[in-house]
Amino acid sequence: MTLEPLVRDRDRAVIGGVSGAVARSAGLDPQLVRIGFVLLALFTGGVGVFGYLALWGLTPSRTDGLVPLRRWLPFTRTWSPFALVASVLGACLILGSILTGSGVGTIIVVLLVITLLRGSGYRRTASAPVPRPEPRTPFERLSLDWDQRLTNVDSGLPAEWDPDATASSLSVSLPADVVGSPVHRRVGRRSWFGVLIGVGLVWFACTGLTMLGVEVPVLAWTSGTLAVLAIALVNSARPARAALGRPPLLATVTVLTALMTASLLVSDVASQAWGAKAQVSTGPAPAVTSGLTDLSLGEHTLDFTDTPIEADSEVTYDMLAGEITLRVPRTGNVVVTSTVDAGNINGLIRDHEGMHLSETWRRIDDPTQPTLTIHLRLRAGEITVVQP
């Protein structure tokens, strides 16, 4: 399969310009490619995100022809294209397998990235800068020059920096405080120093609490780290800071940490819900207390089989997600109202399934006797009403 060279256009990029580059290379609609990346991420358990990031780091930009990874990691500038690609794909393989657990998905994404890079002749284009189009009129020349000046400022380079004079050479004498300079020392606002100090303080606090006997769950470690990274990212996005750039790979590390935190949060919630299969006592009948009762996530059985109805009362049970099984009193007047936003109602009248379901069941044995009214409200799940 032979494709056009992969080149990102930052002016028309939604995120990094990877979808646009793949679309131009393969002659496809960019929106289809974007949808394809989203579906790839969904069906590979999130590994598709690593593939996108790998292509982002390996695909040169149209304006300056530089591969982002070589700009952010100066020590990779002497590496061959094969070594660079192999390192990036190896990191994706390891991170994707560990974080998502989807081994097959990881392999599929890695093979896809290799196919795209090989098909587009990455070995030839990654070493050579992409030439800028030659201006045909004085207006086009002024327009391209102005476009280059704006790109330079956005990248933290001097406005007059000329990529044609530097793209073919590694020994460029750029100012030492400019990103891209071989002797660039990242200090102050574009370095990781402040972020690492913040993360270190969080970890120090967690360690201190642990030594004091306070239990610090893993979720707290990752959430604290994510909070520091997020604050640094938001700070770097401010108009006054955006033109100066941000620590390299900060957004990538933040997204990876967010994925890790989200997976820990989901597993934490799932384990709590699984453990919360609460059973209301089936022995002595539960006392009828009027008012609203919030039920925790899980499965609940409300057994009113032997509950005496001594006075008119109304009880409401509200739950976010799970299953509720209601056993109505054996005797007496009862009204049961069941409401489910999405799920099933297995009622005494009929079974429903779908969204915004509601059913009211009444049994009036003696109109002169008190009535127990039970309201069941469930956002998502199943309500089953059983008559003994």
Partner: protein, 59 residues
Amino acid sequence: MKPRADVVALVIGLLSLLLAALGLWAAWGTVSWASVGLAVPLCLVAIGVLGLLASRHRI
């Protein structure tokens, strides 16, 4: 030319901050998921509106 905010970084940062706050709450407290179910969509809408406002071109 007036400097512009980095919208992608801003949105990713705010979403991550929201997730971090939820994670810290779940780690050391009992999350009221009914409240979360109400607050999270509102926060997402607010972040989206903020992103749209920040991405407007100013002359």
